[in-house]
């Protein structure tokens, strides 16, 4: 019988939530790495027992942990993320130039066919890869050294590379997103990169409508059956591209507010998209204290609030960019975590929700493994 494992990174450790395919009863293990921030943990599609976690601390720096037994035991692997050559300069908040400096690993992306090969997105933004299960990490410099690099700037959370999408149909194509630089695509296995931000607008911060980079992209998602269609939650605006990022158009439509952090796509319906609107860039909580997932079944523009089971009064949590995921069971499960420590799940494609765990530390990331 199928089962589901939800991997939750929080401000004070990692938690692993397990259930059978009915998704009614959940076992919670953790905290793993108690007291440390776990920005992200994920599992290999090829070997679901292989997990990798980004464990980080203002006191002790970065640790990468690996498990080969689905999180029962962990081994610290290499934490050396050194920029190759001169780090170069990027724009600071005040417009001055500042050298690239490593802070933490934001995102770990497994490859589909090799449990030893993973990508890592770091702050300050750069892309690293391991091919030996985390024993060593190598930077792919084509991204950081892109000529637009000196114009990249940090968002409020730092200049982080937070999204890595591997195109399932085009072997050498991948996408990354950086706050606040924008989205980038590589068609040659991460050797060279192209900014793909045409159509994005941020008039308040970027008065030049034709600017190449500088956008605060919060998250990008795609469906494996239509990898050229990309959905983006930008700082403000929900956007869609139908041509692998060459052009973007806004699909915020009837959303009550189009600010937000996370976005994801239904496992079986490539045009069904989920977002969690947040009141504004100044007030990071739901509108009117009502936590609402909005679902579009038409690839955006037409959105419906999915609130059954979610708190509809006095709720002032946030849902961060990497804190939503879907499972691939027949009735697609949708999961998201909040900064208030709840993980909500829907086992019917967003129709109804329930908290499968409450009172965890603030949730930084949610990933799902569907085990068959």
């Amino acid at each position: 019988m199928s089962s589901v494992r939800v991997l939750v990174g929080t401000k004070k450790g990692a938690f692993i939530l397990s259930s059978d395919g009915k998704r009614k009863k959940w076992d919670v293990s953790g905290p793993h790495f108690a007291g440390w921030e776990v920005y992200h943990l994920a599992g290999s599609p090829k070997d679901p027992n292989r997990l990798m976690a980004s464990q980080t601390s203002g006191w002790f720096g970065q640790v990468i942990q690996r498990s080969d037994d689905a999180g029962r035991t962990w081994e610290a692997v290499d934490n050396k993320f050194e920029y190759v050559g001169e780090p170069g300069m990027h724009q600071w908040y005040d417009g001055t130039q500042r050298p690239w400096e490593f802070t933490r690993v934001w995102h770990l992306e497994p490859t589909p066919d090799d449990p030893d090969t993973w990508w890592a997105g770091i702050q300050d933004a750069a892309l690293f890869k391991t091919t030996d299960g985390g024993k060593s990490w190598t930077e792919f410099t084509g991204l950081r050294t892109h000529p637009s690099g000196p114009k990249w700037q940090p968002g409020a959370g730092g200049m982080c590379l937070h999204t890595i999408l591997l195109d399932p149909k085009h072997k050498d194509r991948m996408y990354v997103a950086i706050s606040a630089a924008g989205a980038f695509r590589s068609d040659d296995g991460a050797q060279t990169w192209k900014p793909i931000n045409r159509g994005l607008k941020s008039q308040g911060e970027l008065p030049d409508p034709n600017v190449e980079v500088g956008f605060c992209v919060h998250k990008i998602a795609q469906h494996p059956s239509q990898p050229d269609v990309l959905y983006m939650q930008k700082h403000w605006d929900v956007m869609r591209s139908d041509d692998a990022g060459e052009n973007w158009h806004e699909v915020s439509g009837n959303l009550p507010v189009d600010f937000g952090f996370t976005i994801d796509v239904h496992a079986h319906e490539p045009k069904t998209v989920f977002v969690v609107p947040i009141k504004s860039d100044s007030e990071h909580f739901p509108l009117d204290g009502k936590l609402s997932v909005y679902r579009s079944k038409s690839g955006g523009d037409e959105w419906q609030a999915m609130t059954k089971g979610l708190p509809q009064a006095d709720c002032y949590v946030n849902v961060l960019r990497d804190a939503m995921a879907v499972d691939t069971l027949d009735d697609c499960g949708v999961y998201f975590g909040t900064t208030g420590g709840q993980v909500y799940a829907s086992s019917d494609g967003g129709e109804t929700w329930e908290a499968i765990v409450r009172d965890l530390p603030g949730v930084l990331s949610v990933e799902v493994q569907t085990l068959k």
Binding site: F33, G58, W59, F60, V63, N79, P361
Partner: protein, 100 residues
């Protein structure tokens, strides 16, 4: 034998319960003790000192014999009591409650 006391999170990372005992060839300095510590527990590399600059992480302190050695030269000899194993060399998390 040199005794090293680690803060809670680094003991967990190193999978040790109490103090760590290390063989360190003289002269006994902070650098040589930390080099030996990192050689024995590679997972501690970059958690106490910056891997590249070898500088102490900002929120850690080094104590021994009721003295704060954090700003001493890493190549200065440690107190005799540490070199003789009568007192531990202490890696201490700085007092900083954090915001979470």
């Amino acid at each position: 034998m040199i005794r090293v006391s680690l803060p809670f999170h680094l003991r967990n990372l190193a999978h040790v319960a109490g103090e760590v005992e290390l063989e360190v060839a003289p002269p006994i300095t902070q650098r040589r003790v930390l080099d030996a510590l990192e050689a024995r527990f590679p997972q501690l590399v970059n958690t106490i000192r910056d891997r590249r600059t070898q500088e102490r992480r900002a929120f850690l302190r080094f104590f021994a014999c009721n003295e704060d050695l954090s700003h001493d030269s890493p190549d200065a000899p440690l107190p005799e009591a540490v070199a003789e194993g009568r007192e531990p060399y202490m890696v201490v998390g700085a007092m900083a409650g954090g915001s979470t």
